[in-house]
């Protein structure tokens, strides 16, 4: 029996883990909970690895597995179908591999938390949904996974629900991604009504054979799908939920809001790349959105003081790079950057989690400092992660980002320049973080030590972040190759390589040697407002307040006395008034009654007489 046929078990095992943890949460002892929670993802990862090796050894023909029908109405048939090719395999490795390491880490990080079982149940649910998303062979099943990860994200952001702010952040994430999801559902409807199938491969085939490039239909469909991707991947204009999503526990931020879920938008666009190639205007919009987002987010990251918010903005910025790559048609580079980003961003978040863990949940980087000696493992993890994030040569991030920028230059030098500026800013903020947290005079004493559960993932992820660039993923079988891989030495690649070094130099001058004072710069007259503007994430929240929230509140204020209810309240009002009038005629005067009787009789007789 071929091991590939067990593909259906890959998402099923974490889901079973979720069910066991939810149904028997009172009976299970704590070690058993971690065995079920971590073990289910580990088993799923093992299975994925077996399937992956089998797949890579073979001919790498896409493998299709149908597990039965989900919905079957007339000509609408949605099967539980799995589709395995190099792209979904890459995602499979990221989700199960990085997910497994983060689960191990969580076993240590959440050790003293009361909601231990609940945490692992949610995490398993999330992993199961993410696996459904990447393995789905049709858009409806993909959407099931898409909403499933949204639910997992909501539950985990609001995990510490005692603090109302966390619940607020969770709702914000859920509602803002829902805006994108609505666009995506409309896109699905459009595709189905026009092309009569949900199966992604058929759909892409029919898109290319039945539609003409650049006409209304492919443009509308691609734009609607882009809406969904923008919401999930926290790109302009729906990016403001991600920094607030950092309210969740740190392993959650590492798994969901850095390594896997937020890259779902990138995966969606890559999966439906044929559609986007039929709509060049939308594809270019993807690139422009990515470039703008990466610049905005890096500017905000430079001025944040919360360690997790810095990393959140850097995630937005790195996904901006992936969108840039998708937009210029460098599909493989985008997925490659997704892979390396998963490694180094998970590493950075986990290392940040270790720092937060040992600092009694302190998030402000200026209250830390001098941690280099006290926490060598976290320090080296951070160094490797930051080097990789800012794409210093020979780290994994270098290979992927370099590819992206060179490919971008061939399409648009302006976007390339934006990307290089972004790379410079990336180096500044990532090394600002390292220098402020780990260098400095004071040397705090750390009481807690990291257990093996927290150290092991850090070490493994460090190795991956360093050498992940050596991995070659056979994505050429999935995507059309548009760019040659010839790395010739010229001015463009020279600038691309040196941009991070300039940023590193600036970071050293500002934050390590103290040659320049960043504080003084921020306090100077002109820059003060820009500083505030960047801290607020370019005022996106304020913008939405005035554009959406305020008009909505005014409308609700207007409609406070329900417009529909007017009819019913007026009926009640009229009958009450009539009752008062009639009861006023009951005077108790017997002569008055007699007079009215006479009057009535006269009227009746008059009517009878006259008619």
């Amino acid at each position: 029996m071929n091991v590939v046929e067990l593909l259906g078990w890959v998402p099923l095992i974490p889901f079973l883990g979720f069910l066991v943890l939810v149904l028997f949460r009172r009976q299970l002892s704590k070690p058993l909970v971690s065995w079920v929670g971590v073990g289910s993802v580990g088993l799923s990862g093992l299975l994925a690895a077996l399937i992956g090796t089998e797949f890579l050894k073979g001919t790498m023909q896409p493998y299709h597995l149908a597990l039965g029908d989900w919905i079957a109405i007339d000509n609408l048939i949605v099967p539980f179908g799995m589709y395995l090719d190099a792209l979904s395999l890459t995602m499979l490795f990221i989700v199960t591999g990085v997910g497994f390491l983060i689960h191990i880490y969580s076993a240590g990080f959440m050790d003293s938390d009361l909601g231990y079982t609940r945490f692992f149940a949610y995490m398993n649910l999330f992993v199961a949904a993410m696996l459904v998303l990447v393995l789905a062979d049709n858009l409806v099943l993909l959407y099931l996974g898409w909403e499933g990860v949204g639910l997992g994200s909501y539950l985990l952001i609001g995990f510490w629900y005692e603090d109302p702010n966390n619940g607020y952040a969770a709702r914000k994430a859920f509602v803002m991604t829902r805006i994108g999801d609505t666009a995506m559902v409309l896109g699905l409807f459009l595709l189905f009504t026009q092309l009569h199938t949900f199966d992604i491969q058929f759909l892409m085939f029919r898109v290319t054979s039945q539609w003409t490039p650049g006409t209304l239909l492919p443009v509308a469909a691609a734009a609607l799908l882009l809406g969904g991707a923008v919401g999930k991947s926290a790109q302009l204009p729906l990016q403001s939920w991600l920094p607030d999503a950092m309210a969740g526990p740190t392993p959650v931020s590492a798994l969901i809001h850095a390594a896997t879920m937020v890259t779902a938008g990138v995966y969606l666009i890559a999966r439906t790349h044929a559609l986007f190639m039929m709509a060049p205007s939308v594809q270019f919009a993807v690139a422009v959105l990515g470039a703008i987002t990466l610049l905005m987010a890096s500017c905000s990251a430079i001025v944040q003081t919360d360690i997790k918010r810095i990393l959140a903005y850097s995630t937005i910025s790195q996904i901006g790079y992936m969108f840039l790559a998708l937009g210029v048609g460098a599909w493989s580079s985008a997925i490659f950057h997704l892979l390396t980003h998963a490694f180094f961003k998970a590493l950075l978040f986990l290392a940040a989690g270790a720092v937060i863990f040992c600092f009694h949940h302190e998030h402000n980087i200026f209250k830390m400092g001098g941690l280099r000696k006290a926490m060598p493992l976290a320090f080296w993890s951070f160094m490797i992660g930051s080097a990789s994030l800012s794409a210093l040569p020979f780290t994994s991030g270098f290979y992927s980002k370099h590819d992206i920028l060179l490919a971008t230059f061939e399409v648009s030098p302006v976007l390339w320049a934006a990307g290089c500026l972004g790379a410079l800013l990336t180096a500044i903020y990532s090394f600002r973080l390292v220098f402020v947290v780990f260098f400095g005079k004071n040397c705090p004493v750390v009481e807690k030590s990291l257990g093996w559960q927290m150290s092991l993932p850090l070490i493994l992820l460090s190795v991956l972040a360093l050498f992940g660039g050596m991995l070659t993923i056979p994505l050429d079988s999935v995507f059309p190759v548009l760019f040659g891989n010839a790395h010739t030495f010229n001015l463009v690649s020279f600038i691309t390589v040196t941009a991070p070094f300039i940023g590193l130099l600036l970071a050293v001058l500002f934050y390590l040697t103290g040659t320049f004072s960043a504080q003084g710069l921020a306090n100077s007259q002109g820059l003060k407002r820009i500083h505030r503007f960047f801290v607020s994430g370019w005022g996106m929240d304020a913008l939405y307040d005035t554009l959406v929230l305020h008009p909505f509140k005014v409308l609700t204020e207007l409609n406070k006395n329900d417009a529909v209810d007017c009819l019913y309240t007026s009926i009640a009002f009229i009958s009450r008034k009539g009752h008062l009038m009639i009861s006023a005629s009951q005077t108790g005067q017997i002569r008055w009654y007699a007079s009215s009787m006479v009057l009535g009789t006269v009227v009746v007789i008059a009517i009878g007489w006259l008619s």
């Binding site: 009951q586 005067q589 006479v598």
Partner: protein, 97 residues
């Protein structure tokens, strides 16, 4: 014929006005009697006009009715006087909406 009917109409209107303008209960009862007798007169006149006994039969009915009415009415007036020490209809206006 016309004279008899005219007399009954005049009597009826007189009785009606009496019921409406008088405030004493006894006077109101008396006015009611006048109205009843006015209708009785109208029946008699009509019966003699058509040469039929129905009018007189009707008058006997009205006469019985008037006797019963006076019996009940005077009894009520007596009770009211016992309770309120007055027979003024306007001052007994407590049952109002």
């Amino acid at each position: 014929m016309e004279l008899g009917l005219s007399l009954s109409v005049v009597l009826f209107v007189l009785g009606l006005v009496g019921v409406l303008v008088r405030r004493n209960l006894i006077m109101m009862l008396m006015s009611l009697e006048v109205m009843l007798n006015a209708t009785g007169l109208a029946f008699i006149v009509a019966g003699s006009r058509w040469g039929q006994a129905d009018g007189q039969i009707m008058f006997l009915l009205i006469l019985t009715l008037a006797a019963a009415e006076v019996g009940v009415g005077l009894g009520l007036a007596l009770q009211i006087f016992h309770r309120f020490h007055t027979l003024d209809a306007d001052s007994m206006n407590e049952m109002k909406g």
